[in-house]
Amino acid sequence: MEQHQPCSNSTIAEADRKLEQIKLAIDQYKQMKGALIPILHEVQDVYGFLPEPVLQVVSAELDLPMSEIYGVASFYHFFSLTPKGEHVIHVCMGTACYIKGAQGILDRLSTELKVPVQGTTEDNKFTLEATRCLGACGLAPVLTIGEKVHGRLTPNAVPKMLKEYN
């Protein structure tokens, strides 16, 4: 049904729906000690990162200064304060993967995507991240793109793998 509506309206409706979801999470956790972290998780789930205007809502609702929220958001690697690409690539840099050449995979990805580690491609398609052990050492070297696991990779297999997402 949304196809019949002008695009801007559906964007606004989408934004409202997302904010509504955050407000529900705030209501759910508000009374709990340490409510901030589960709420930030929800924000990150819904938006893919922590947008400042949404954090302002969290700050007002929880009566917490923004400096404190920024402190928590910048402490945990999981939280991102900048928008991420459509597909987030986590390259495992755990010991087993590292020995099996994870650095080469990471370098090749960086070259292919033309972004540094932590960077997002210009078309917002991919974000490249290095991560600690993913717990799939048997598949080393391993990475995940979104929810999907790609194991036993070689640098030369990278371009073909990326094509799956284009």
Binding site: E52, P65, S67, E68, Y70, G71, F75, L81
Partner: protein, 578 residues
Amino acid sequence: MNTVKIMIDGVETEIVKGTTVLEAARDQGINIPSLCYLQGVNHSSSCRVCVVEVGPRLIASCTLIAEDGMKIQTNTKKVRDARRTSAQLLLSDHDRECLSCSRGGNCELQSVSNSLNIREVTYTGEHSSREKDYSSPAIVRDASKCILCGRCVGACGTVQTVGAIGFAKRGFDTVISTAFGRPLAESTCVNCGQCIMACPVGALTEHENIRDVWDAIADPDQYVVVQTAPAVRVALGEEFGLPVGTRTTGKMAAALRRLGFNKVFDTVFGADLTIMEEGTELLSRLSSGQNLPLMTSCCPGWVKFMEHNFPDMLDNLSTCKSPHEMEGAMVKSYFAGKLGIDPQKITVVSIMPCTAKKFEGAREELSNKDMQDVDWVLTTRELAAMIKEAGIDFVNLKDEEFDNPLGVGSGAGTIFGATGGVSEAALRTVFELVSGQPLDTIEYTAVRGMDGIKENTVELPDGRTIRTAVVHGLGNARRLMEAMQRGEKSYDFMEVMACAGGCITGGGQPILNAADSSRLDVKALRAKAIYSEDEAQTVRKSHHNPFIKQLYAEFLGEPNSHLAHELLHTHYTARTKY
């Protein structure tokens, strides 16, 4: 039983239950070093320089509550080595430019390092953030000196409930930061400077204007007028080794003259003028019943706090400019006219116990005909630094008087420097204005003292009552404001000072180290000195100040007149919380 017996270094001692091992040892004459600990502000036990041995373990003594039968060793090899390692690690990532650091000689890291006999720092490696933030006109942050003790975060967030800064990032990248790492000037910082007072090192300092003031003095085309706030005279002596609470009014006036200022005026005159204007404003608001409670506007930390946090209540703030701004406005109008000097050629310098006054001095609205009422604001510390630079033997100076006519103030104006002072000064005048005749009562002691929130109802001679609240410390102010918003509290008059104790413990005052500030009751000692200044005055009510009467007769007309509004009143700006 309210005491416990513990053994410190083989000596048994009985102490009050709940005492920390650090305090207990210090009471026994054993000076355990500490850095991150600041009583009532920060109890994070993170720096580890205060460790002691309890059984097989090394424990931070600052937060270790002494328990009955505890055996504590403060001076074993293990303890000494651990403390030295912790201090050396801090030093290894500290910008050790002590010779040009404003805290050199009054730095807790330096004292700890000295007391532990650290002669070299063997740890080398990368340095963490070395960013300096000069964006604020009041406060400078220098990450290269920061030891991440968290004392400033406690002062800003826990005590003042401003929360402009906090810990951000993690591990080696950890920094004290504003939200999103923005410049301090773009944050909710109210410039109170309590972070500076809490900082053990030189990571937080005032934005110095010493060179600017020297330049003005050296400029033959400028007529440079200085004024000093009441709280400065009861603290300045500490910078020259005098005991806390020493009154140095006469020496200060003498020193200012020797520095080369053309006129040495007293902000107490401006305070008296504030009472005339604000007292009249209070009576008119009481009559109309509008915008009550009237909230004082002398404190620029409080004013900016209101603008950020309670923007819908700005109409409650008194429209009066703060005393030094009133004084500046009078210097550039009334006084300039009297002397026949072009006000463009007058520089007004305010010596304040405060860093927020620097921000206030630069507010666009505190000006007239494109001239700022006050050109430069220096803290008590900066004044001391100038006196030292000029080689003046402060302690042996002979007392001198302020200049006339804007250098004469009443006892009422003097007590502005302590919490409750503005209220008491206002009551001294308002009572007589209402009764229309002189009254014997001078001291209204109910508004004095160091309770965070002091409530009081006074009955005026005409039977009307004024419900007053005197608040100091922004945390207390926030609690009271919120109680008012919930409808639990209501008043007619509210005096608020951002710093606990009032201006006497402002962010521009001499800095005491953590040990001294917990040992001495600085607030009470400086307040006592302020009240003795008041008692020593013959004129103790603002409206009896002969020069105030003269000012109204010759220039302003009457309080809240059109001209008074133009020169002595201001407005406020709603600001965001983010």
